[in-house]
Structure formats: C-alpha cells, structure tokens
Amino acid sequence: MVLRGLEVSVSDEGELVRGCLTGNADAFRAFVQRFQSAVFGLCFRMLSHREDAEDVAQEVFLRAYRSLGQWDSARPLKPWLLTIAANRCRTWLLSRKRRDLPAEFAENVADPSAGSTRLDLAEELQLALDGIREEYRLCFVLYHLNELNLADIATIVGSPEGTVKTWLRRARQELAEHLQRRSILPQVTHELR
C-alpha cells in the first residue's frame, strides 16, 4: 500500500487479520489500535462531534470485524476500513438531518455567525468544513488528513478519479473563500505540527 510516499507492508496486515479471524482478542485489540487514529480522525472531521465520532468509530470496527472474512488480502486494509467509515459517516449524517439537532451538539459546534468568536486555525477549518458539501468534505479530509492518493479516494467514495480531483479543488476553493469571509489572519499564533 502506498500512502503518498509512505510504504506499508500488506503482509503485516494479513497476519493481523488472520489473528483476528481466529478469535484472538489481543490481535483484534492491536488491529483497532493500529487504525483507530485514521478511522476516528475521519469520523470526527466528517461529523464535527467527538462523541458521535467515537460511536461511529466503534461501529466501524465492529462491522469490520464481522466483515473481515470478505476482505481481499491482496488489497490494503486502510482504504477498506476507511470505506466502511465513510459509509457509516454518511448514514449518520443522514439520520442526524432527519432528527432534530440535540442540545449538546449545538454546544459542541461553534456558531458561524458569531464572527467575534476567536477560534484557532484548526477550529476555523473545521467550521469551514461543516459548511461545504459532504462529498467535498470527505475528499478533502481523506486527502489532507488521511493522506490517501486520488485513486484510493476514488475507490472509497465510489466515483471516478477525475471527479474526486474536481471535488477536491472545489473544496479548497470554498474553504478558502469561507476563511477569507471570516477574516482569518494567517499570522495568528498557533503551533505548527
């Protein structure tokens, strides 16, 4: 598996999965710990809510465990897991739209109209992400946070690579415009990773 220059051994993943399939709890715990950051990160950026993201991440791993027998060992595991995560996030967002917004959720997300509220750049970006289309958001997060290449993202979202590229450009454009409207100054003090 190539993650934009990062080589990951597929055989290790195969060993890990084989251990999970035997019912070894320690192997599955190691499996979760290995991918929880990527899965939870995607869920958190898509849902903008920590508790919801943890619930969805847990559901993703449970579903992955039940579907591990269908995993094609010739393919990398991370995009497969992120595909499950992306689908679960879509379903979650859909159900959230159908029901009323819970009170604690409203407190967790900053109000975009409150321009005087000073957020750090990461929070501003998360706020901007909430305002763009789901497809754009998913592509942007998978590319810039999970560092997947366009081909893997195309597989995850189920669209052609050209479409993914277009969505990615539009996501950047809309995010940049949103940040400019919020009058964010780049020289705001923050810690760069």
């Binding site: 999965v17 084989r18 999970c20 399939l21 035997t22 019912g23 070894n24 709890a25 599955f28 715990r29 979760v32 710990q33 929880q36 950051s37 939870f40 990160g41 958190f44 950026r45 920590r50 993201a53 943890e54 991440a57 847990q58 791993f61 449970l62 465990y65 039940r66 579907s67 591990l68 027998g69 269908q70 995993w71 094609d72 060992s73 750090d120 750049l121 990461a122 501003e124 970006l125 901007a128 810039h144 946070l145 450009r169 950047r172 454009q173 995010l175 940049a176 415009e177 940040l179 400019q180 964010i184 780049p186 923050h190 810690e191 760069l192 990773r193």
Partner: protein, 260 residues
Amino acid sequence: MNCADFESRLNDEFDSANMRQAVDLAEHAAQCAACRATWDGFRLLSECVGAWRRETPDANLADAVVFALGQPGEPLPQVSPIEARPSTESTRKWGPLSRTLTAAAAVFILASLAFVFRPARPLTQPDSQVPVAVLPEVPQGVADANEDRPREARHTKNLVATNGDSPPQAAQSRSPGPETDRVPYYDLAQRAAGALGQMAMLVLPADAAPSTAGERHPAEPPAEGPLHWMDDFERELKPVGRSLGNAFDFLWRAGESADG
C-alpha cells in the same frame, strides 16, 4: 501566465505544499486582483491545514470494541476465514457472448412480430384461387318449401365458396327492386351479412361444406412446415366467423319480419 493557468498551478502547488516558493504565482497574484484574493485564500487554507491537529479517540476505544464483541477473557466470536472476493471472471467471460445472444434474441423477436402482424392475405390473388359464392343445387322439395321466403333469406345460408370455376352467382341472389324501399337498418344488416359472408368465404376452403350448427367440417389436411400454428389459428377462428354470420342472418330476418 493567465488566470486559468494560475488557478491550475495554484492547486498543484498546494498539493506539493510549496506554494510559497512559487515565484511566478506570486508575480501573477500581484498583478491580478481576483487571483490575488484566491492566492490569499489558499495561503490561509494552507496555514489552517498545517494547524490541523490529529484527533485521537478515547484511550479505551479498543477495549470498548473488544468488549462489545464478547466477554473479557473469552475468545471473540469467529468469523468466516479469509476468502477471495467473488470472482468477476465468469461475468467477463460471458459478457461478449451474452451481448451476442441478446442481439440475436432481439432480431428473432422483431422477425416474429413482423411475421405475425404481416398482411393476412394479399389483396390481389390469382383468379383460380379467389373463392366466389355460388348457389348449391337445392333439392326440389326444399326449394318448394322455400318459395314463400324472400330470395335473400333463401340463399344466405347456402353460400358456398368455390375456386371460381363457375361464374360468380352471389350477386344474382341480391336483386334490387322491392328491397330498395326497406328501412335503413335492414340495408345495414344486409350489407354487413354480405361482407361477413365474403370474409367467411375467404376463410373457408373451397371444398368445405356449408356451415350448419353442430356440424363438423371434414378433417382438414394437416398443415405442413413450421408455420402450422397459423393454420391452427385460422381453424380456431372459423367457428367465430360462422357465429357472427348466423347473428347477422338473424338480424336480417328480424328486419324482414318487422318489414312485414
């Protein structure tokens, strides 16, 4: 560099994270106000992406997931072993053949439809094949008994199709004269009965006996070839035509009775 090139290059440089080092982009942004705004927005976005923290889940997430699957200390429920995804080779192998078969089936269906809905019979037939109505020879006793009936009523049920060796005599059975002053529905029924009789003659074989209720025609020779079902279809329609002819005959007589 124009504005389209600027936008394309800007995205490329954003991917490679060296947007600030692109001197030509900065030069174009300094000259174009719209591109300047885009440039500033992307710089801002780059800063925000750089400040993006990698969110970590709750430390107990792995334990929670394992606990959800089974009791602590017990092995997890086993799932089916690793198996390859369903191969798509069989679908690919049959793909071109299935397209060919589909095309052949479509052609067959179209040809069948064209055959079924073709004109039933050509409008022009050789004279030797055109059946015409003739009057059969009626026994003298029956003829005498029919003397008190109108001429049309006498001969309607006795029309028989022949191969045209004899001159058409059906016209002779409808002589103008006193009938011309009859009521309109009588003429209408008469015309309809005549038309139906013509149709029945086209259907009936030349050597068929006159149709009578409850009487079966002599066995017709079995049709040959793969199209015998068409002949079966015609054979099934014959009783229907005869029944319609009888119905119009009844109407004709009723009109006759009403006429006095």
